[in-house]
């Protein structure tokens, strides 16, 4: 335990500049959106307190907006506002809106009518009543709304890193995909502390009354503007080209770290979710991205892979990994899964991915079409001798593979199938496998080696030069350490790759990572 703590501390210490930047970005995101939410929500709340016939519909709309899942909301923002701070702030603003509108409204409506009447009887104008009577009396309720909104925003802002808006989510999601607990905690603990601290400060504010509150409230906008200003914290140095890397890629030796140390690549980088990265590259928000070599969007968005001329990206051959206990329990399983071995090449996989990711065909259909064409399709036998649980990570290729396996098992054995797709990243999938919640899922040799086994860097360098050695190493290590069997590879190599828009790479004459490094080094 102490060892764990020490490494967490040393991780945080080591990464303190990143941590600080992320924390300030996080605060900046939270407060910029909060400021805007107050600027919009407060007048709306006042409006519906005046015109109660509008209250239902406006609160209704704000309520519905709030129930949109945060990831989906961020997703909706991208076509409208691109990536980065803008869409993140708008999404956070939308979440903060309901508590602010609702509490302004209930705060004002809840004031004793006779007090408002007295204000009228004294001869106050509408504005004077609003500022001298209604708002001060509604303030405690209003502040409770701001408090709720702040805490919500601190939480949701962690998701901003999906769309290159920074924040503590960079560590959290990077850590999840890298299976690095320290990294997760380095993001999660400060985020939780921020929420608790802000909640506490605002609760103190709520308890103040009269003059003191007025003073604090006058300084409040200043504080918010300053905090919002942190968002302008120098995020990255700017270079001629802009890169967007996934959080996972950022923390890996065979990713950003390797690019820096082996190629000496210096490029302004933002952290971004894989879900929006390709589109951002296509639309010119980003120039260089860290994609996967079989990704369908490569084709859809007209990107080209830069040659890894120094060989830093290890091979990622896909193969099903199965619990040995499951292989015993379902004797026919191994043979069926191996039906797919060697059947799918890189270009075939890219095309299959293109169909799901870009043409929006369902993974079921794409899987069935492929199996029909390859002559592997058998109609389901509807057998009932046990259920096989297939897992998959949360991206298209894995869905397609899971579907193919499902069809093959149903058609060639008497087993039933339960698919547990969308198990997040590697860590979640692998934990599910270890905990006997699934029987197998498709994994990649490189991931098995670098994310799960994590041998010494020297060994990695040595092994990854050869894809067969990599496969053999993970196979025997998994068997020994985890009692999990790597079946035969499916054929394609879905490795990391840097990519650029085809047009841009042509016009700049960049075909390899070395070219890119040289180009950026020119003054």
């Amino acid at each position: 335990m102490t060892e764990q703590q020490q490494t967490l501390w040393s991780f945080m210490y080591e990464q303190s500049d990143k941590l600080l930047r992320q924390t300030f970005q996080h605060l900046g995101l939270t407060f910029t959106s909060l400021l805007l939410a107050v600027a919009i929500g407060l007048p709306l709340g006042i409006l519906i307190a005046r015109k109660s016939n509008l209250a239902g519909s406006i609160l209704g709309i704000a309520g519905v907006l709030q129930t949109v899942p945060s990831i989906a909301l961020l997703g909706f923002m991208i076509p409208l506002l691109g990536i980065g701070a803008k869409p993140a702030i708008v999404a956070l603003l939308i979440y903060a809106l309901l508590p602010i509108i609702r509490n302004t409204y209930t705060g004002i409506v809840g004031i004793d009518r006779s007090i408002i009447e007295a204000a009228n009887a004294m001869g106050m104008s509408k504005m004077q009543i609003l500022f001298r009577v209604e708002l001060p009396l509604a303030m405690p309720v209003l502040l409770a709304g701001v408090r709720t909104a702040t805490v919500i925003n601190v939480g949701v802002a962690t998701l901003a890193s999906y769309i290159a808006a920074g924040g503590l989510g960079e560590f959290i999601f990077g850590g999840i995909s890298l299976n690095n607990t320290n990294m997760i905690l380095a993001g999660a603990i400060p985020a939780a502390l921020l929420a608790v601290l802000l909640d506490f400060l605002l609760s103190r504010l709520q308890k103040l009354n009269g003059k003191k509150l007025k003073k604090v409230l006058l300084t409040f906008p200043v504080i918010i503007v300053v905090l919002a200003g942190f968002y302008l914290w120098p995020n990255t140095y700017t270079t001629k080209l802009r890169a967007g890397f996934t959080p996972e890629f950022m923390g890996r030796q065979d990713g950003d770290l390797g690019l820096k140390s082996i190629y000496g690549l210096k490029i302004g980088t933002t952290v971004i979710s894989d879900a929006v990265m390709y589109k951002a590259a296509f639309e010119g928000d980003l120039d260089v991205i860290s994609g996967y070599s079989t990704d369908g969007r490569l084709k859809a968005f007209d990107l080209r892979i830069l040659k890894d001329d120094k060989g830093i990206f290890p091979p990622y051959y896909a193969a099903p990994i199965v619990r040995e206990s499951s292989l015993k329990k379902f004797p026919d399983l191994e043979q069926v899964l191996n039906l797919l071995a060697g059947k799918i090449t890189d270009s075939v996989m890219t095309d299959l991915n293109y169909r799901t990711d870009y043409l929006k065909q369902s993974p079921e259909r794409v899987a069935k079409d492929f199996l029909l064409k390859a002559g592997l399709y058998q109609p389901p036998r509807n057998g009932q001798s046990g259920v096989i649980r297939i897992g998959s990570k949360i991206f298209g290729e894995q869905y397609i593979l899971a579907e193919m396996y499902s069809i093959l098992i149903k058609g060639n054995t008497d087993y039933e199938v339960a698919t547990k797709t969308g198990l997040g990243g590697t860590k979640i999938c692998f934990d599910a496998l270890m905990n006997d919640q699934i029987d197998f899922y498709p994994e990649y040799t490189g991931t098995g080696l670098l994310v799960l086994l994590q041998p010494s860097p020297e060994l990695v360098k040595e092994i990854t030069k050869d894809s067969h050695r990599t496969y053999n190493y993970v196979k025997s290590a998994f068997q020994k350490d985890y009692k999990i069997k790597w079946l035969m590879p499916i054929g394609f190599n879905n490795s990391y790759a840097l990519m650029m828009r085809k047009k841009q790479s042509q016009s700049l004459h960049i075909t390899s990572i070395t070219d890119l490094t040289k180009y950026l080094a020119q003054k």
Partner: protein
């Protein structure tokens, strides 16, 4: 001073105020009296335009109030709310200073005037920094009065200003208020459903029922020449006490026998009510005669209990037949 004519207000299908007209004369204290829900508050609120009438006009000093900006009109009229309505987030001092702040008085002026009013209304100065919730109901009511009086408006509208108080406190605040110069100088329209209070404070009473005026007149007119059964029934059970309190020895003067005796223990005949004289007789059985001086005619008369009741009888007959 205030002229109300044809005033009507309907809420849904309730005629809260139904075509009423009356005047309030300068310096007069007119009391709107009636049972709960008869439209007193509605009438009062229409005068400072807290409620807009459906029909009818109100003019103050011959100026139609509907032509004035409501806020400006209200700043000129003191208003005491039925449920006090102090601002809970303001201290007593700030509550009292609401109108001066709207009128942009300088701070010093406001403070001096506040202190002056505190003294008059028997509120300790150290209450100024308290919040309304820290005061008793009676103290809050005094603050409400101070708030209405601070800018020294010519007109005062008061909606049950002494309501929700126990009887003892109420009579003491009433008495204090009656003694204020503000009370005598200002034109006051006051609402109450308390008959005793109306008779105690009114120059004239306007008795209302279901949005209509039943009778408007001096307390004596209501007592001795009630317009209809409603007025009689309204005063039932309190008539005698009211009459005793209202009628003074000066009123009875012509029915009292001449008395040659002289004494220097005399009471002013216009200050002594039937009630107080009878109380004196019943408090001390040894007194047989009490002596009074009529300050107008400068004559002195003495009377015993029988002479007093006889004179009252004759007075009553005369009032009723007039």
């Amino acid at each position: 001073m205030i002229k109300v004519s044809g005033l009507t207000k309907t809420f849904g299908n309730i005629k809260a105020v139904d075509d009423i007209s009356f005047d309030v004369l300068e310096g007069e204290n007119l009391v709107l009296l009636g049972t709960s829900g008869c439209g007193k508050t509605t009438t009062l609120k229409m005068i400072n335009r807290l409620i807009d009438p459906d029909a009818g006009t109100i003019s103050i000093n011959e100026v139609d109030t509907s032509r004035e900006k409501p806020e400006l009109l209200r700043r000129k009229i003191g208003y005491v709310m039925q449920n006090i309505g102090l601002f809970p987030h303001y201290t007593v001092a700030e509550n009292i200073a609401v109108v001066p702040r709207l009128l942009q008085w300088d701070k010093k002026h406001t403070i001096n005037r506040t202190l002056e009013l505190l003294k008059k209304l028997h509120l300790p100065e150290n209450y100024l920094q308290l919040f309304p919730r820290e005061l008793s109901g009676g103290q809050q009511q005094r603050v409400g009065l101070a708030r209405a009086l601070i800018s020294d408006p010519d007109i005062l509208l008061m909606d049950e200003p002494f309501g929700a108080l126990d009887n003892v406190t109420r009579s003491s605040i009433q008495a204090e208020f009656k003694a204020l110069e503000e009370f005598t100088k200002k034109t006051i329209l006051m609402v109450t459903h308390d008959v005793q209070e109306a008779f105690e404070l009114a120059d004239r009473i306007c008795l209302m029922d279901q949005g209509k005026i039943i009778q408007i007149g001096t307390p004596k007119e209501l007592l001795f020449t009630p317009k209809n059964d409603f007025v009689i029934r309204f005063l039932d059970g309190q008539r005698l006490a009211l009459q005793f309190k209202l009628v003074t020895i000066e009123d009875l003067w012509e029915f009292l026998p001449e008395d040659p005796r002289h004494t220097n223990k005399t009471i002013s005949a216009d200050k002594a009510s039937m009630w107080s004289v009878m109380e004196a007789f019943s408090a001390d059985r040894s007194i047989e005669h009490q002596f009074f001086v009529n300050t107008r005619t400068k004559t002195i008369k003495g009377l015993n209990f029988t002479q007093l009741t006889n004179a009252f009888n004759s007075y009553q007959n005369k009032e009723i037949h007039d």
